[in-house]
């Protein structure tokens, strides 16, 4: 079946099995491989993208359910000039293996859209769905605080 999507600002029409999770449409049909496969069961958050501004687990979301919706992936978010999260992640040197980090940033982006100065508790609540096997959590937390400060400072 044909599914119409808006991905990173571009309108796309695709012929796919409608049960295909959005993750695989992004990765295999559109070559947007920054969104990762980690568990296939919405347990780890490596596949986090935004659908109409909401962070979702794309590994369990059938493509048919997002027809006509606005999807943002890490490639879209990172293309924003000097995105404060991307900057903060670099300045705090957060990643180790790096596999989960795009998903972490996508989750954090939603938090920063809602809170100008999130507390540790708010960060925990928002980020608990994203697993990092290298356990870079200390730096993820510090990078989110840093990104919020960059954003508040208009930098």
């Amino acid at each position: 079946m044909s599914v119409d999507l808006e991905v990173n600002g571009k309108h796309i029409s695709l012929l796919v099995d409608p049960s295909t999770p959005l993750l695989w449409v992004l990765r295999e049909e559109l070559g947007l491989t920054g969104t990762k496969f980690g568990c296939g069961a919405a347990q780890c958050g490596a596949c986090t993208v935004h659908v109409d501004g909401v962070a979702v687990r794309s590994c369990v979301l059938p493509a048919s359910s997002v027809a006509g919706k606005r999807i943002t992936t890490i490639e879209g978010l990172a293309s924003e000039v000097a995105n404060p999260l991307v900057r903060a992640w670099i300045e705090k040197d957060v990643p180790q293996c790096g596999y989960c980090q795009c998903g972490q940033i996508m989750s954090a982006a939603v938090l920063l859209a809602e809170r100008t100065d999130p507390s540790d508790e708010e960060i925990d609540a928002c980020m608990a769905g994203n697993v990092c096997r290298c356990a870079t959590y200390v730096r993820i937390r510090s990078a989110i605080h840093h990104a919020a400060a960059l954003k508040r400072g208009g930098k």
């Binding site: 990762k36 980690g38 296939g40 490596a46 180790q96 980090q101 356990a135 959590y137």
Partner: protein, 715 residues
């Protein structure tokens, strides 16, 4: 599941014997031009590339799985090359003897040895390049080379005021003969080494540009999933090929030695095809395996003495004749590595050649194994090392399991395939940290100090039957089973450590910190038991027994001092542990409390003595991460088997520590001018015992099996 590696063991042994186990400084060109050679105008050795544009590329012969090795190895070259760090980038090296681990006839990443082993060769590689650039400048200006200075990729000559960039000199330098023994810098003059430096791979990893093998795409590539037997060694009897082929996009379904492969145009079709295969399995001889039964059998075996790995004095006699002995049993489960990127591999197999893209810690062995399965010579196989989404030892398998499987699929599918293991495949695919049992006994002298210590270890050998057996299994004892126990650092007059090696049909493998992942927990917990029995402060007992171990003590006192700066809140306690592994000394002080009947970890203070440090921030990052990795195992980690079947399948039942459970971490690096030693693994072993020692103070309950069960901590 396990198949014999086609890696040529005899050649491996012969080559290793010839090298005498010493360090081979391999600074020569690879036999085949490395991938980037064409873009470089100056390539004085296997590791350094310089283009006329000034761009410097360091060839990385180690796997970057998060430990920061691409950056630290680049720093080693850049320092001696006197490079402008802004010009420096890296590439993963192809498989070639020039990139072998020093002293070993193969390219691999493990044992926390990358910086330890590569420091000298890479410094020499950089210094060689610098000497040639300087000679090129001196010849051009007709001045003595000794009068030329270098800094940030520029050569200058003070007397004449001449100046040239490295890029401008690249082509001239390329015509010179490399010096055999270039002069190295005085470490006091280092500009880069020892200073926290941002990782080179971070920008690509936070923008989605970094390519892991799962991201590789090739023209005409198909995706394969495999239905694996639910019991290790099981064989498929019957399956519904037609049902799978009826799924649109499924191209082929066939049996391979490790299961039934479904090859499709896309992942989702392969997954749907696999879901309807309805395979009937012949479970084979491992259908009776149960973790519970293994624990019982191991416990019984631990009542007898195994092969003796360490014997000082006569500990069994001292214990037999003592009025009072303290004894305990410790149990640890199988553990999965569970890297975030599930195992996968891309194979493009043609008639006379094969290209492989894989996140591999074991390039030489993996290439040889792939070649064996493909019916090609290793030189006909091009193996491209990609970033890897975590390794922790799983991507260093002497059996090359998922790589061999991918080649088997490509053979029947024809052309290019990407094999993807789902999380369930990964969790149930074996090659676990072994299940262990330890039985300990000790007696105390009148002064409260231990007089005798016996430790019987029971578990599977990781290395028996692999190419590594000849190196690490001596007189029947796999060193990786007893490491951290046989080298007990404490001053005790009578010590005996012995080992029973079991054979179980569950494939095992090294898991971040290997044997130390069980021995440090057991030794550091039991020592704490002895301290409480003797009514001695656990820190005080360690100080007394480590009086002649300055580096253990250095780490311990550093961590304790840093931890003591934080006043202990009511309801909290501190536990301590110290351990030597991968040639580094690490101590943890863990501050914990009980909240709603469950352990809560508030702060982990860690001190490491790992000799001279290349990139301090990487050391800090590795130790921060090690706390979370080790807490995951201590609080949640267990793979259990019943009826030969692994019970866990995904992160809902093999839980990972999450951000709200992560404690504050404080890392102290002990100043040292000793040679650089391991960093990636040594942060793991002491976390669990330090935590459990804190929990004992809080609850009076001794945790003797992991993961920690909150019900065992109830009063």
């Amino acid at each position: 599941m396990s198949r014999p590696s086609t890696f040529e063991r005899r050649a491996f042994l012969k080559a290793s014997a010839a090298l005498g186990g010493g360090l081979l400084i391999a600074i020569h060109m690879p036999s085949r031009a490395a991938a980037s050679a064409s873009a470089a105008n100056f390539a004085p050795n296997a590791f350094l590339r310089l283009a006329s544009s000034g761009k410097i590329t360091v060839m990385i012969n180690k796997a970057e799985m998060g430990q920061g090795v691409a950056t630290s190895l680049s720093m080693l070259v850049a320092e001696e090359f006197d490079a402008d760090w802004k010009d420096v980038g890296f590439e993963f090296a192809p498989v070639d003897a020039a990139y072998n681990h020093p002293g070993m006839p193969m390219q691999f990443t493990g044992g926390s040895m990358s910086v330890m082993a590569m420091s000298e060769p890479l410094k020499k590689a950089g210094a060689m390049g610098r000497a040639m650039i300087v000679t090129a400048a001196a010849e051009r200006w007709n001045v003595p080379p000794e009068e030329c200075a270098t800094s940030e990729s520029v050569v200058t000559h003070a007397r004449t005021g001449k100046r040239a960039t490295y890029g401008e000199l690249a082509s001239a330098a390329a015509l010179l003969t490399p010096p055999a023994e270039p002069k190295l810098k005085d470490p006091a003059t280092y500009k880069l080494l020892g200073k926290s430096t941002r990782r080179l791979d971070t920008p690509d990893k936070v923008t989605g540009k970094a390519i892991f093998s799962i991201d590789v795409s090739r023209p005409g590539m198909l995706t394969a999933l495999v239905a694996h037997p639910p019991v290790f060694g099981g064989k498929a009897k019957k399956w519904n090929e037609a049902a799978a082929l009826a799924i649109p996009g499924v191209r082929k379904v066939f049996a391979i030695p490790s299961g039934i492969a479904v090859v499709a145009e896309r992942f989702w079709a392969a997954k749907r095809g696999r879901d309807v295969l309805a395979v009937e399995w012949d479970d084979g001889e491992n259908a009776g395996i149960s973790s519970e039964r293994l624990h019982k059998q191991y416990r019984e075996l631990s009542r007898t003495t195994g092969l003796v790995a360490r014997k000082d004095g006569d500990a069994p006699a001292a214990i037999a004749s003592a009025a009072k002995t303290i004894s305990a049993d410790y149990e640890l489960p199988y553990l999965a590595h569970a890297p975030m990127e599930p195992l996968n591999c891309v194979v493009d197999l043609r008639k006379d050649a094969c290209e492989i893209w894989v996140g591999s810690q074991f390039q030489t062995i993996d290439r040889a194994t792939a070649a064996g399965h493909a019916g090609l010579a290793p030189e006909q196989v091009d193996l491209h090392t990609t970033f890897m989404g975590g390794g922790f030892g799983r991507r260093a398998n002497p059996a090359s399991d998922y790589i061999a499987e991918a080649v088997e699929i490509a053979k029947q599918a024809g052309g290019c395939i990407k094999l993807i293991w789902t999380r369930d495949d990964d969790m149930r695919g074996g090659y676990y940290r072994p299940l262990w049992h330890s039985r300990l006994a000790a007696t105390l002298g009148a002064n409260g100090l231990p007089e005798a210590w016996t430790h019987t270890i029971v578990g599977q050998s990781i290395l028996a039957g692999t190419a590594f057996e000849a190196f690490f299994v001596k007189d029947g004892i796999d060193e990786t089973s007893t490491e951290g126990a046989a080298d007990l650092p404490y001053s005790i007059p009578n010590v005996q450590v012995d080992l029973h090696t079991t054979k179980v049909g569950v494939p095992t493998l090294w898991w971040r910190s290997v044997g130390h992942s069980h021995t440090a927990f057991v030794v550091e917990s039991f020592l704490d038991e002895l301290a409480h029995e003797a009514k001695l402060d656990p820190m005080e007992l360690r100080r007394k027994l480590l009086a002649d171990k300055p580096r253990h003590l250095g780490a311990l006192e550093t961590a304790w001092k840093a931890a003591s700066k934080h006043p202990l809140a009511p309801g909290r306690a501190r536990g301590v542990a110290v351990h030597f592994s991968f040639n580094s000394y690490v101590a943890h002080v863990i501050e914990a409390s009980m909240q709603n009947g469950r352990p809560r970890v508030h702060r982990a203070v860690c001190a490491i003595d790992c000799g001279r440090v290349v990139n301090p921030d990487t050391v800090v990052a590795q130790l921060e991460g090690a706390v979370g990795f080790a807490l995951t195992a201590a609080l949640y980690g267990q793979i259990t088997l019943e009826n030969g079947r692994v019970q866990q399948s995904n992160f809902h039942d093999y839980r990972m520590l999450r951000i709200h459970e992560m404690p504050e971490v404080e890392v102290r690096i002990v100043e040292s001018q000793e040679p650089s030693t391991g960093v990636g693994e040594p942060g793991v072993p002491t976390v669990a015992p330090a935590l459990c020692n804190a929990l004992f103070q809080l609850t009076g309950k001794r945790v003797r099996s992991l993961p920690i069960r909150p019900e065992d901590l109830k009063a």
